[in-house]
């Protein structure tokens, strides 16, 4: 709609107070999340769910950047910086994990503070391209800085944060706790006046700047916060996997986080989580068909992007409005869009 918008990421979700329906869904989701490792004790599904928690942190923090109108292809690089920082401090410097975690937040945040103001001057495809290159550079640093990172073989035998976290159930709950905290922070942030300004500046940057919003400063601050949060995923993930290798942090892995957001409609934290569930669970379900994975992946992406610019959240909204007979309202909105 606005001719100045650099990206057509779809409109901001309406700012409504959570209704009774949403509260009910949240309560149900909470119960499922708490019961999950008990129900599936000893199963691979606990590990999968733990991965989803960690990727939810990555996807939601990336959305903080995406919402400002910049699709970053280097987010996984910051996840990696967090991961390596945590692992190196625990294994080589003997830090307790909770201190290493703080450093794992600070290090990517600092990297973001240095590189963000440079990258964020670019918009649209140029930002995508340059962050892609930056992601690749970081990956190469992980490979070449042998003495620190162990080169392309990475670092092995990473201990769990605490001995009691050797239990997958314990690891699940810790990851759940951090995911709730990080995602909750992102949701709160986007529902605040800052979030309003962020959605506004994506849809009309000039107009928003004229309202007194320091557009560039907000972009930089969001970038730094997002990078810092990504470090939480990096640390949790590396210590769970026992091994950290550069291959996990290249641009293609960053694309994964972007796709989670695309699937979720780009402007909705719940969407990013649904995207994470989908992209983590799908490859696991298709384990026997490795060569088909990418095909499915591609088909689903194309279908979602072509038919539902609002992502799966839009799909759910459509289903809901159909169920509650609000289709007429939606149809008129769609018709109105066609007119403009």
């Amino acid at each position: 709609m606005s001719p100045q918008a650099p990206l057509s990421l779809g409109a901001a979700p309406p700012r409504t107070m959570p209704g009774a329906g949403l509260l009910a869904i949240s309560a149900l989701a909470g119960a499922v999340l708490l019961a999950w490792p008990i129900v599936f004790q000893g199963s691979f599904l606990v590990y999968i769910a733990t991965l989803v928690m960690q990727f939810s942190i990555g996807a939601c923090s990336l959305q903080l950047i995406i919402r400002t109108g910049h699709i970053s292809m280097s987010h996984q690089a910051f996840v990696g910086i967090g991961g390596y920082t945590s692992v190196i401090l625990v294994m080589k410097a003997g830090w307790a994990w909770h201190f290493a975690l703080l450093a794992a937040i600070a290090a990517p945040a600092l990297a973001g503070a240095v590189i963000g103001p440079i990258l964020l001057r670019l918009t649209g495809k140029y930002f995508v391209l340059v962050t892609f290159l930056f992601g690749e550079i970081v990956r190469l640093v992980f490979i070449d800085w042998q003495s620190m990172t162990g080169g392309s073989n990475g670092i092995f035998e990473i201990p769990k944060p605490y001995p009691w976290m050797n239990d997958p159930t314990a690891y699940y709950y810790v990851s759940l706790g951090f995911a709730v905290a990080c995602v909750g922070f992102c949701i709160r942030l986007m529902r605040s006046e800052i979030g309003r300004a962020i959605d506004a500046m994506r849809e009309g940057p000039n107009l928003t700047e004229c309202a007194g919003v320091p557009v560039f400063r907000i972009k930089v601050v969001m970038f730094i916060i997002a990078c810092g949060l990504s470090g939480v995923m990096g640390s949790l993930n590396a210590h769970m996997n026992n091994v950290i290798t550069p291959g996990n942090y290249g641009p293609m892995e960053s694309l994964n986080l972007v796709v989670m957001n695309v699937l979720g409609g780009m402007t909705n934290m719940a969407g990013a989580i649904i995207g994470a569930v989908f992209l983590i669970a799908l490859p696991e379900l298709l384990r026997g068909y490795v060569e088909w994975q990418r095909v499915f992946y591609g088909i689903i992406l194309i279908v979602v992007m072509a038919s539902m610019p609002g992502g799966m959240v839009e799909l759910l909204a459509r289903l809901r409005s159909r169920l509650t007979g609000r289709e007429a309202h939606l149809a008129s909105a769609v018709a109105a869009e066609g007119r403009t």
Binding site: S2, P3, Q4, I194, V213
Partner: protein, 272 residues
């Protein structure tokens, strides 16, 4: 505060060049508290560029801009907005997918934002600011005749109403000086009169304005003084009557056919 006779906005020797093109050359003018200054000129005269160079969209190549006693040359738009200088755009710019009310909230950022942590925890301060702005927006919408559209998405509004919404967004920032770039372009005569009355009421509430337009009738019925720009330069400045009887203006607008001048000056269509 501007004291005594000091102007609210003072522009001195403003120039803006794009490569070899001198889009604005050595413009100087002032706007006083409560004054409406019209800027008029043919297509490509440099009106929008002048506003862009004042409002921080572009950094001027040369010149000084003083607002309310502050030297603000080349300030970013958001800093000017903080000082009370807000502009609208020539193209209708609203947030299409948002309701009219949400559009106004976005315009009111300066009065809604309580600081990072207050915003994050939705503190008492944040809530108080929100409540105050909601009241303010109610009044603003009433005032501009937008109340009936409060919950309508901007893209579903008629064109004329979208233009008014553009002004509402700017007004929500509570400016001291508002710069309107062609607020009546494409509007019917009736809608134009409505916008003129609205701008007069804005001024009556103590806000100064710079209004750009082609429509001489609209400008002369609204402005205290008019600046005529031609090829980026000042052609004339003065009251509407003075400007319209200025020989250079008549010539620039109507060629040598002076006889036609008085007939057509009422509704000049520059550039054609």
């Amino acid at each position: 505060m501007s004291t005594g006779g000091a102007p609210l906005l003072a522009v001195e020797g403003l120039s803006m060049t794009f490569g070899a093109l001198k889009a604005v050359q050595d413009l100087s003018f002032t706007v006083h508290d409560g004054e409406i200054l019209g800027i008029i000129g043919p297509n490509g005269a440099g009106k929008t560029t002048a506003v862009n160079a004042i409002s921080g969209t572009f950094k001027p190549t040369a010149g000084r801009v003083t607002f309310d006693g502050h030297l603000v040359t080349g300030f970013a738009p958001h800093r000017l907005a903080e000082l009370g200088l807000v502009r609208t755009y020539q193209a209708t710019t609203v947030y299409g997918t948002q309701t009219v009310r949400e559009n106004c909230r976005r315009g009111a950022f300066l009065h809604l934002y309580p600081g990072f942590f207050d915003a994050l925890i939705s503190s008492a301060k944040a809530r108080a600011m929100r409540a105050a702005v909601e009241k303010e927006i109610d009044r603003l919408l009433d005032w501009l005749g937008l109340a009936q559209f409060a919950d309508t998405e901007a893209r579903n509004l008629p064109y004329g109403v979208q233009k008014t919404l553009g002004m509402a967004i700017a007004m929500a920032a509570r400016p001291r000086l508002i710069m309107l770039d062609e607020p009546v372009a494409g509007l019917s005569a009736e809608e134009t009169d409505h916008v003129r009355d609205t701008i007069k009421r804005i001024r009556a509430s103590g806000i100064s304005a710079i209004v750009i337009d082609h429509n001489m009738r609209f400008i002369s019925g609204l402005c205290d003084r008019v600046l005529v720009i031609h090829h980026g330069q000042e052609l004339a400045i003065g009251t509407p009557a003075e400007v319209m009887s200025h020989p250079d203006v008549i010539e620039a607008y109507l060629g040598k056919g002076h006889a036609a001048a008085t007939a057509k000056a009422n509704h000049a269509a520059p550039g054609h």
